[in-house]
């Protein structure tokens, strides 16, 4: 039964397809009062940078219609404390789950330096390269919007890290496909998408932005349809496994991403509201497989049936929408 939930990201096997999204789970410790982090297929820690970062000014969050904007600004203790402080990596390594370290840097050298150091930490099963944070002038996104910069960054990390590398992509691009392909060409083992959509909220009476950082990243169920489209496009255009992220609230949402082409998913904002949701989803996935008579999650990955292929749809979307004949 539980075996049927196993899934793979390249050579990395997960006991189930549910990972915590970076920045929505701390480093596990805070969550322990609510749920055993070991129930997850993998946990992705909050972004780590070479030097500590104090984050953005307040306010840092603002609720929107079925979503939330955040402008946290990658507050984190830095790689030294992350590796040595018992609250961080040592604690994560004691959970019976895959440990993914999310990295953010200002330069290729910074990513490389952190990857090199983490390569000798056997507790680290995978790196997730944040090349997509919308909240910092140097939040990695300058890499993630340029295919060539993406390829060079992933290549450089690849030379310095021997285990699984995941590239986390931004949706804040005209076309995600060239970026996805570039990350794959650079040697990524898997892609995770999407990071948050950059957005804004305004208090018109005060004529002030709602967030201290002015703009922020939109997450939550509001972005799920947008994320599903990009996950589907990436899966249609890349050979490596995809981790779907974006507004997942329940088991049905997870299965939508899996059918659209994701081999695993990350849950984020929902954990703020329902810290035990991973348990419910894992149980729900087991029930869904039994209902379908499916032996594994893998049997469902990318099984979406469409009347037109992804290339046609993508071209039509770029042209401003396709005219679909009535009755088709």
């Amino acid at each position: 039964m539980a075996e049927t939930l196993k899934t793979r990201l390249g050579s990395l096997e997960l006991k189930n397809p549910i990972l915590s999204a970076s920045g929505t789970f701390g480093y596990g410790k805070e969550v322990e009062s609510f749920v055993d982090p070991s129930v997850y297929g993998g946990i992705v820690g909050k972004s780590i940078s070479l030097e500590p970062r104090k984050g953005n000014p307040l306010p840092r969050t603002w609720e929107t219609a079925s979503g939330m904007l955040n402008s946290i600004g990658l507050q984190n203790p830095g790689i030294d404390a992350f590796i040595s402080d018992p609250s961080y990596l040592p604690r994560m390594s004691a959970y019976d789950t895959r440990v993914v370290v999310n990295l953010v840097g200002d330069t290729v050298d910074e990513y490389v330096e952190m990857a090199r150091r983490l390569d000798s930490e056997s507790a680290v099963d995978a790196l997730e390269l944040n090349i997509s944070c919308p909240n910092c002038p140097l939040g990695g996104m300058e890499f993630g919007v340029d295919p060539e910069a993406t390829r060079r960054l992933v290549e450089a990390v690849r030379e310095n890290f021997s285990r699984t590398i995941i590239a986390k992509l931004t949706p804040n691009v005209t076309d995600v496909v060239p970026i996805a392909r570039a990350a794959e060409a650079g040697g990524a083992d898997a892609l995770s998408l999407v990071n948050t959509y950059v957005g804004m909220a305004v208090e018109w009476r005060q004529r002030r932005p709602r967030l201290g950082g002015i703009t922020g990243g939109l997450s939550g169920p509001a972005i799920k349809p947008l994320a599903l489209r990009l996950v589907w496009l990436a899966a249609q255009n890349c050979e490596i496994p995809i981790i779907g992220i974006g507004g997942i609230m329940n088991t049905d949402d997870v299965l939508e991403f899996i059918v659209a082409g994701a081999s695993a998913v990350q849950i984020g904002t929902v954990q703020f509201i329902r810290p035990r949701i991973a348990l419910e989803i894992i149980e729900g996935l087991g029930e869904a497989l039994r209902e379908l008579g499916a032996g594994s999650i893998g049997e469902l990955v990318g099984t979406l049936e469409t009347d037109r292929d992804a290339i046609t749809v993508r071209q039509a979307d770029e042209d401003g929408g396709e005219e679909v004949p009535v009755g088709e």
């Binding site: 920045g23 984050g55 307040l58 840092r60 004691a94 019976d96 703020f272 810290p275």
Partner: protein, 293 residues
């Protein structure tokens, strides 16, 4: 194998709290009484709960709303929330039926609540005089604290000072007036009680009492009040704990949305610490001038 410290029975899970009553006590002020045994049993003054302000089928409003526990009846398994209607979440709460005034026989209304969360106040020394200083709806944790202190084997002398813009905003005072404590009010416009800020009222009372060094302050209110309280407690070397309020993404330390510059101890630097996780109650000496949060 898991290294988690707690056993499954200890996990804090969102739970269905039954609405016992939903009483309006002023134009925009309400007291919601909920029944859920584990939340009532674990609640201590200063702690808060996160209320999901929708029926559970909707994703809007998306995030839970944090409220200090106003009081808890551990024997009957009930706890109260004092709230004012300021936005979509609290308006949803105000629209919940009040079973005490509606027809019986209807099925109980349940609310999804996560908690209790956060830390609590420290207990005063036996010879200390306690000053509870609250502004607006910030009086909520101070009421629970007053009840807690009065239940001690040797209760301290307690002064409660409430501040408001005008007399109209002094809802919530009646519950305090029923307690065996000294109650004082301050209004910015002088329409009721002391004319001025509640922190100035405190200073008057403290000076009248001989500026005793064994005064201990517990405060909760808007940012300006908290800031004044922090400053005067440090200037006069008075023990003071302040319960900070903030908008929160999660309420348990994972989103880093509700931070403020706060020291770990007297010797360390100010760093962005989480009000929900390291607080919400902080010693005033750890807060930075111009408190945020």
């Amino acid at each position: 194998m898991s290294t988690s410290d707690c056993q499954p029975s200890d996990y804090i899970a969102p739970s269905a709290s039954e609405v016992v009553s939903n009483r309006q006590i002023g134009p925009d002020w309400y007291v919601l009484r909920l029944r859920e045994e584990s939340i009532a049993r674990r609640s201590e003054p200063g702690m808060f709960v996160q209320v999901l302000c929708n029926d559970g089928e909707s994703f809007d409003p998306l995030l839970r709303r944090p409220f200090s526990v106003y009081c808890a009846d551990k024997e009957n398994g009930t706890y109260d929330i004092l709230y004012t209607t300021v936005g979509r979440g609290t308006r949803w709460m105000a629209a919940l039926p009040d079973p005490e005034t509606t027809a019986s026989g209807e099925s109980p209304v349940k609310v999804d609540v996560l908690g209790p969360l956060g830390n609590t106040f420290s207990t005063p020394g036996e010879d200390e005089t306690v000053y509870l200083v609250g502004g607006g709806v910030g009086v909520a944790p101070l009421y629970f604290l007053a009840l807690h202190l009065l239940a001690l084997p040797a209760p301290p002398k307690i002064h409660f000072c409430m501040g408001a813009r005008t007399g109209e905003f002094l809802q919530g005072i009646e519950d305090f007036r029923k307690l065996p404590i000294e109650t004082h009010v301050a209004t910015n416009d002088g329409s009721e009680g002391f004319h001025g800020f509640v922190t100035d009222l405190f200073v008057e009372l403290w000076k009248d009492a001989g500026s005793a060094e064994n005064a201990r302050i517990y405060g909760c209110g808007p940012q300006g009040m908290n800031e004044s309280l922090r400053n005067l407690s440090i200037e006069n070397d008075l023990a003071c704990e302040i319960c900070l309020e903030s908008m929160m993404g999660c309420g348990f330390g994972i989103c880093f949305g509700c931070v403020a510059p706060i020291r770990k101890d007297a010797d360390s630097d100010f760093i962005n610490r989480r009000i929900c996780w390291e607080g919400p109650v902080f010693n005033s000496t750890l807060l930075c001038p111009g408190i945020e949060g």
